[in-house]
Subunit: 127 residues, 2 copies
Amino acid sequence: MFQLDLRSRLPIYMQIVEKLKELIINNVLKPDEQLPSVRALAQQIAINPNTIQKAYRELESQGYAYSIVGRGSFVYDIQHGETNEKLEKIKVSLEKMMSEALYIGLTNEELLQMVENVSAKREDYHD
Amino acid sequence: MFQLDLRSRLPIYMQIVEKLKELIINNVLKPDEQLPSVRALAQQIAINPNTIQKAYRELESQGYAYSIVGRGSFVYDIQHGETNEKLEKIKVSLEKMMSEALYIGLTNEELLQMVENVSAKREDYHD
DNA sequence: TAAGTGTACTATAACAACTAATACAGTTAC
DNA sequence: GTAACTGTATTAGTTGTTATAGTACACTTA
């Protein structure tokens, strides 16, 4: 499904979380679509199933997936979600990071351009 | 100088890094301004000097401070810096975070508004 | 010279993170 | 009901991180 770096300082389960979040956010994995089973994914990338489970639990706690015993794990449908708290948190993080980027030397124009690019990308998925 | 949470999952030295970075980015601490000495700050917040040193070293590795033996530690002047690599990294992080925010439900308009707010804040410092 | 700077090194204790092995519990299809 | 699949819980061991402490060194300043 994807490539991991077993020597990275970033834990394996977190790498999995990052990859899956990216696929979900970019709409490659659609709402309620089934994720690979814990054991199947573990075998595929040759690591312990518990590591996958930890990744899935983290995804669930972040509101990007849900699991049903005996059935499987699935992409959470954001429509159902309480996202206000998450939005507030990410807005704070975003503002900090924007400030840092401007301090380092990013120009206002470049920042605006980034926003346009990201927004445009999302528009495509609504087709 | 500031308040710490000794019970936080975020290490003490990292809390110090975060606070100081925020002060530097928001221009409260100006370029080449002297930071508190390792021992002074340690005594002030009642922790070990080694912990402060670790924070300062981290700040230095991130390009926000520099130290001179016998003289002290100071805010790094961004003008002198090689920031291209850092800018590229933070741009990648920013794009990811913007995508995530939009996925969660932030609107394009709100995102643009945030950019304007952050930009405006920075303009003030140029007075 | 004395008192202040940053730095390096070692040691230790406590804690958290990570991975692994195993067992348990529910669902589905035959 | 059984087999084969799902997720989940528990335990254990290893490793890495964090914070502290003590000591020593090198440099700067007054």
